[in-house]
């Protein structure tokens, strides 16, 4: 018999459930005094380099109803395209930018509003440049394994058209599901879990 590889299996995922706010955004929920602030609410400060933008994320279910109990985390590079992470080998990112945001959706309108900056470009593994993008992770009741997707910027058309991820999608008619239109300094990214406009999710 062949030797065992002795590798462990990842712990299986379970839904974040309807009460995810208690653990991840307790102050937002009104559980005050345990943690001073909710993590991921402030991504920028006055010193952060880059163009200030708001990213407004909404998530819709298969009936077209906006989710009011969703939690979204985002992860992005700084204005120069560097990640504020020990795994970033290319240099030191802007110390005034965390790159990571976490928001629970507004309980009335379902919006997750991220105050952030527009990210710079990050190379793909073959050296080509990726278009500016934000990585997203979405959890909620009824979602068994956190969903991973990306948001691209509508005003980066030239970069989007040669982006290594966008160009490899078999169904090019689904590319628009990943591109957020710009209104003023706000990008609105609507995510559809099902249906005609189902967003492209990634297994990465």
């Amino acid at each position: 018999m062949a030797q065992e590889l002795n590798r462990l299996k990842e712990s299986p995922s379970q839904t974040a459930g309807p009460y995810v706010h208690i653990g991840l955004t307790p102050n937002f929920l009104g559980i005050e005094g345990v943690f001073p602030v909710d993590l991921g609410r402030e991504m920028v400060n006055d010193e952060t380099i880059g163009e200030r933008i708001d990213v407004v994320v909404r998530v819709f279910d298969g009936t077209g109803t906006v989710l009011k109990d969703v939690l979204v985390e985002i992860w992005q590079a700084d204005a120069k395209g560097l990640y504020n992470s020990p795994n970033e080998p290319r240099g030191k990112a802007d110390p005034n930018f965390t790159g990571w945001g976490r928001m629970a959706s507004d309980m009335e309108n379902g919006e997750c509003v991220f105050r952030t900056i527009k990210p710079g470009q990050v190379p793909f593994n073959d050296g080509r440049m990726q278009a500016p993008h934000i990585s997203l992770w979405i959890v909620a009741r009824g979602i068994n394994l956190g969903l991973q997707t990306r948001m691209y910027f509508a005003d980066e058309d030239a970069a989007n058209r040669v982006d290594p991820v966008l160009t490899r999608l078999e169904h090019q008619n689904r590319v628009p599901t990943l591109i957020a239109p710009r209104e003023g300094n706000t990008y609105k990214f609507d995510i559809h879990l099902q249906g005609e406009k189902e967003t492209v999710f990634f297994d990465i």
Binding site: F35, W75, S85, R168
Partner: protein
Amino acid sequence: MKNSLPEVHGFFQRDRSWHPPAFAPGYRSTVVRSPQRAPISFPNTLSEVTGPVFGHALLGELDNDLTINYAKAGESAIGPRIVVYGRVLDENGRPVPNSLVEFWQANAGGRYRHKKDTYLAPLDPNFGGCGRAVTDAEGRYWFRTVQPGAYPWPNGVNDWRPAHIHFSVFGPGFVQRLITQMYFEGDPMIWKCPIVRTIPDERAIERLIAKLDMEATQPFDSRLYKFDIVLRGSNSTLFENRKEGN
């Protein structure tokens, strides 16, 4: 910025047959919330293998003691006192240090401190229900709490969640993000639960059941439950002499 190709060690691909499928109609909320098209794969880039890191400096003194972190001075939450401890490892069996582990749960009666929870079990004025820890160099974490109660939930007409604690865990890469739940050894409710049963493989379910550790139990204080969590591994951890932080 270097002009050479970025050195990226991607994570092992997720075994999606080990995780619960998105569409699992026994858990009815999944029906309209499950993507129906196949997810798309591409090799991990720097966007996937990097992630935020949280230091121990983040933590307050009571962050890992749910029995008192919401309680009035001198009081504590009601319920069986337990300590949950374990390690965060990757698929290579290596510890994951500096991993932020966040947890939340119902009180001993099975009631959550949440606007939407209307279960008739009472709120405990001394129990908030959230806590957090950051793993040490060996990937270890621990926290003290009260054992949560089982509670009914609107799915079938008589569905109950087994006693459980929700966990959120960070690895160094953003695509290692994981949310899961911990169950308690010996609880007959586990195998009846539609959410547990979204996991297709019984061996995977067993991995979420914490064992009672009587050897480590603290006499006249708390019983201990051991719960290890495994995050996705990558090839970079296979080679000993890589530079720090990779």
